[in-house]
Amino acid sequence: MELLFALVIGTLTASGIYLLLRARTFPVIMGLTLLSYGVNLFLFATGRLATGQQPVIGTAATYADPLPQALVLTAIVIGFAMTAFLVVLSLRSLADNQDDHVNGEGREMSASSKQEREVASK
């Protein structure tokens, strides 16, 4: 079972990272979502895999580790907030640049913005 679980986490990580390295915002967001599934499962697994031992007092003889569960629960919700923020960031970038490339401003830094930067530095 442990090997299977590890393989699942590995697959999620690999798929997430491949998408993370893409050039458009939407695949990157999907990649991050996949990656956070993997990370959440990994954190959860630090409490080891238990079957039928939910950490509710009185429902089982032994209990699964409740602490990673509490941590992962908050991680899921925070993860959602971050995903939402990222989605909005990419929408805003789309609105401002008319383009959804992650590097912004049409891939390469344009000549005018380079000049602006140099002026600002002086």
Partner: protein
């Protein structure tokens, strides 16, 4: 309290003086003089202790753990400098009153001057090296502001920047040196450091500490090769130059060397470093001064030269040389301040400082001319004036050095040579300015005497030159003795302060210098021609070039590393993470734990297989964004099943509801985005990315496997044991969230709230037009709100709300709680938005989501602070049982109010985020069909 008061008063004055701006310039000048007058009165009573050879100590604790204290220490040396700072400061205030024009910001000038004065007093009165360093840096900063007082002048700004960079850099070296000394001695208190001279000099790190401290002193006192900032600081208003370059700023380095003399001096390293630097500076400054056509430029290089002289005297290491050094500090401060003031008057009255144009002023301002000529004669070392006395002592000491062989000739020859130069540039100051024909093309013509009171400070100083020159014992004898003894660390040897010591070698050297100098001045044209062959170096320009080169280098480096490509950053990030994991594995090898593997059951295996296939399929079809999204949601659903399968019902419920909200969110976003991702990367790039991803995935698999097979122990026993008895709930996960780790949860819902508000503000004024169709050429359906969905969604709402209430209430004891209930409520409300449209739903929800978020945070925080009212720590929870009719015995815990806060914050944040995105669409303004029918 009197010593800290002396230091503090100018700072208070700096705050108070501008308040008198309403009362006019005179009021400010008077207000600015008050701190110095009080300080003088406060110092006066201490003289009886000091004249008996004692020191006055006052100490207050500040940061004892760092060895930093508010220690103040007054001895002869400190008193001498304090008097120079205070008295010349007063004269400068009077002088500046006439120098500055009406339109200038006089209040700012005096405030800065007072801050600078306070910092200088802090340096000389500090009894703790760290405290002294703080004041040291303060003088660098305040002098920067004073030099750049005329902020509209580019030269002034550059000169100030140069001064700050050089003296600030020296300050860093000094900091390091002081830390080393403190480390050697074990204390930063001056008393301890001065007493530990032998210990410091015997320490292996002594050369390092000495070099660092001397770097600080040399940069501040403009010693070669750090002298170049001083001439460029002449861009300051002349009162500032008169103050900074006579009695204060540049003397701080001299003071430092004199102050630490007992602790650091008396070794070969000290002798060679200090005396050689002083020697070179003395000669170099005196030589260059002669060729400066700028009046203040001449004085600036003369200052450099005289500072070199004092440094050389301190470096010689003989007791009498040290006395001479202290004496010259006094003399130089007096004549140089008066000369700067005279130069300022001349500039004020003629409109220029160029000596090629200023000639023959004797006819126009005989009074000022007399004063300036006496001061200049003192600068050159003419008998009967104060400059002569200390120079004579210097000549005498230069003959006393025990150097091997012919080397012993070097100091007296260099001293005489410098004396010749000094006479030459002093003669130039006198002859070129006041005689030598007629003025050439002056901006202000004819020049005349300045206001009566503008000359008063100069008169006082020139009077002091003569007094010290003729009656040295009477005028400065006791003060000099006290200061010299304090410098040496023991009673100064006997010496005679006579005007003429009889016909001896030093006197011969003086006359040699006098005639040689006059001869040199008379032949000046030849020297000018000779000097003109060498190209003039503008140190400021060099400095600016060096700085801009560094800036360019930094820019180039930044551009290399930060090229604006998120793709590259992400790749570098992932690669470094992989490296961090690979390195220890390469070192220690990879081990599977001893726990072994448990058996796999078929349903789990199938689900895992579907998950992995869906994840890979998401990647394969990621260009078809909609399909990829559907596949992604499959992954999310199976993840929530995995949580359920491995004994985490709370997580399963949370994951499920978050999954719904996330997919809705991504669908919404996709509505505005292109539906298809174009192929942009090359095949090689994709293979590279795939390899990176594969490496990361393999790594995670191995790490997970290694971790899962290790035996482990957890701190969770505590939570399991205390959940029911301490937190009043049997669902341990929920109790951890709202009770044991309630503070974390409070922080977390705050993050949630911030994210939602960030989303709201980011989209507030954004216009996004969705593409007309879905990318495959299909137009969007015209039926915006499908009838079937609408009819199902509406009756769902009360049911969903009931379920979420149930989940919320049972959360403390069974899987559920605020997070999950909040998400369920959110999903139910979002469904109404999807089914019936923005306007229809908004009309029926009469509150703003901002307020819900605020209310949620408020509930959670109040529950936390409520426990404070009962004397328990923040977020302590309590619980009890009440019996309700029908429902029966029911548990009420204060943590439930906290959970209610979580519930509300989750609803508010989720809906605010989604509604903000949904509102972007122009379609959101379309009313539901039902309404329009």
């Amino acid at each position: 309290m009197s010593l800290p008061l002396v230091v503090l008063l100018p700072f208070l004055g700096a705050i108070a003086a501008p308040l008198f701006a309403q009362g006019g310039r005179t009021a400010i000048a008077i207000a600015s003089s008050v701190p110095a007058l009080i300080a003088l009165a406060a110092l006066f009573p201490h003289w009886s202790v000091l004249s008996a050879g004692g020191t006055v100590l006052e100490s207050y604790e500040w940061l004892p753990a760092l060895g930093l204290s508010f220690s103040f220490r007054l001895d002869g040396l400190a008193l001498l400098f304090a008097l120079l700072i205070l008295v010349i400061g007063l004269l400068v205030i009077l002088y500046a009153h006439y120098y500055l024009e009406a339109k200038e910001n006089v209040a700012k000038f005096y405030a800065l001057l007072l801050c600078f004065k306070g910092s200088m007093l802090g340096i000389v009165l500090s009894g703790n090296l760290l405290l002294m360093l703080i004041f040291w840096e303060l003088t660098s900063l305040t002098s920067f502001l004073l030099i750049s007082f005329w902020t509209h002048k580019q030269d002034a700004r550059r000169g100030a920047r140069l001064a700050l960079t050089v003296t600030g850099g020296g300050g860093l070296a000094l900091l390091a040196g002081i830390l080393l000394i403190g480390n050697i001695v074990g204390s930063f208190e001056l008393e301890d450091v001065l007493a530990a001279g032998d210990q410091i000099k015997a320490h292996a790190l002594y050369p390092v500490a000495l070099t660092l401290v001397l770097l600080g002193a040399f940069t501040k006192s403009a010693q070669f090769p750090f002298h170049f900032w001083l001439p460029h600081a002449m861009q300051a208003p002349t009162p500032v130059s008169a103050y900074l370059h006579s009695a204060t700023m540049v003397k701080a380095g001299i003071f430092l060397m004199a102050r630490l003399y007992p602790a650091l001096a008396g070794t070969e390293q000290w002798f060679y470093m200090v005396s050689f630097t002083g020697l070179v500076t003395l000669l170099f400054g005196a030589y260059v001064a002669m060729f400066k056509h700028d009046l203040k430029g001449l004085l600036a290089y003369s200052t450099v030269s005289h500072l070199g002289l004092i440094t050389l005297l301190l470096g010689m290491g003989t007791q009498l040389a040290t006395v001479a050094a202290v004496f010259h500090v006094i003399n130089h401060a007096i004549f140089k301040a008066s000369l700067f003031m005279a130069a300022g008057i001349i500039e004020h009255e003629t409109g220029t400082r160029d000596m090629r144009r200023i000639n023959g002023l004797w006819r126009y301002m005989p009074h000022t001319a007399t004063l300036a000529m006496v001061a200049a004669a003192s600068m050159g070392g003419v008998p009967l004036l104060n400059g002569f006395l200390s120079k004579e002592m210097f000549f005498a000491e230069s003959l006393q050095l025990n150097l091997p062989g012919l080397w012993s000739w070097v100091p007296p020859i260099v001293a005489t040579l410098a004396g010749i130069f000094a006479i030459a540039y002093s003669a130039r100051f006198i002859h070129d300015v006041f005689f030598n024909g007629k003025p050439v093309d002056l901006p202000i013509f004819p020049p005349h005497e300045p206001p009566r009171y503008m000359k008063i400070p100069v008169e006082i100083l020139v009077f002091a030159c003569i007094m010290v020159g003729i009656f040295p014992t009477f005028s400065v004898g006791p003060l000099l003795y006290s200061a010299a003894s304090a410098t040496l660390g023991f009673d100064a040897p006997d010496y005679q302060l006579a005007v003429i010591h009889g016909l001896n070698l030093p006197l011969l050297m003086s006359f040699l210098a006098l005639f040689g100098g006059l001869l040199m001045y008379s032949q000046r044209q030849r020297f000018f021609d000779f000097h003109a062959r060498f190209p003039e170096i503008d140190e400021k320009a060099v400095f600016e070039t060096v700085i801009s080169k560094f800036v360019n280098l930094a820019h180039r480096f930044t551009k290399q590393v930060e090229n604006g490509s998120l793709q590259r950053y992400a790749m570098l990030l992932v690669l470094s993470v992989i490296a961090v994991v690979v390195l220890p594995i390469a070192d220690n090898g990879f081990h599977i734990g001893e726990n072994g593997l448990s058996t796999i059951d078929w349903p789990t295996a199938i689900a895992a297989g579907v998950l992995m296939i869906s994840a890979l399929a998401t990647v394969l079809w990621h260009r078809e964004r909609f399909y990829a999204l559907v596949l992604l949601s499959v992954v999310g659903l199976i993840v929530s099943l995995a949580f359920a399968r491995f004994s985490a019902p709370d997580l399963a419920m949370t994951q499920l509801s978050v999954e719904v909200v996330t997919i809705v969110l991504l669908m919404l976003a996709l509505y505005y985005m292109p539906s298809w991702t174009p192929v942009e990367s090359s095949k090689a790039q994709r293979i590279r990315d795939a390899l990176i991803a594969l490496a990361a995935g393999t790594g995670m698999t191995l790490i997970t496997l290694a971790m899962l097979t290790q035996p482990f122990s957890s701190i969770s026993e505590f939570f399991l044991e205390n959940s029911k008895s301490g937190g009043g709930g049997t669902n341990v996960v929920n109790v951890i969230l709202v009770d044991f780790r309630g503070f974390d949860t409070l922080g977390e819902i705050t993050v949630l709230a911030i994210a939602a508000l960030g989303i709201y503000s980011m989209l507030k004024n954004t216009a996004l037009t969705p593409p007309p169709g879905d990318g495959l050429g299909h137009a969007w359906t015209r039926d915006h709100y499908p009838l079937m969905l609408r009819q199902i969604a509406r009756p769902m709402l009360p049911l969903a709300l009931m379920v979420s209430a149930y989940i919320f209430l049972r959360g403390h004891n069974l899987p559920g709680g605020g997070f999950i209930a909040g998400l369920i409520t959110s999903v139910a409300l979002i469904l109404q938005y999807i089914a019936s449209g923005m306007i229809w739903t908004q009309e029926r929800i009469p509150f703003r989501y901002h307020n819900i978020i605020g209310l949620g945070l408020l509930f959670a925080t109040i529950t936390g602070t409520g426990s404070l009212a009962f004397g328990y720590p923040f977020l302590t929870s309590t619980f009890g049982y009440i019996t309700w009719p029908v429902v029966g015995k029911f548990e009420v815990a204060s943590a439930m109010v906290f959970d209610l806060g979580v519930y509300l914050a989750v609803i508010g944040a989720t809906l605010l985020a989604l509604v903000s995105i949904g509102r972007l669409s122009p379609h959101s303004a379309i009313k539901s069909n039902q309404e329009s029918v």
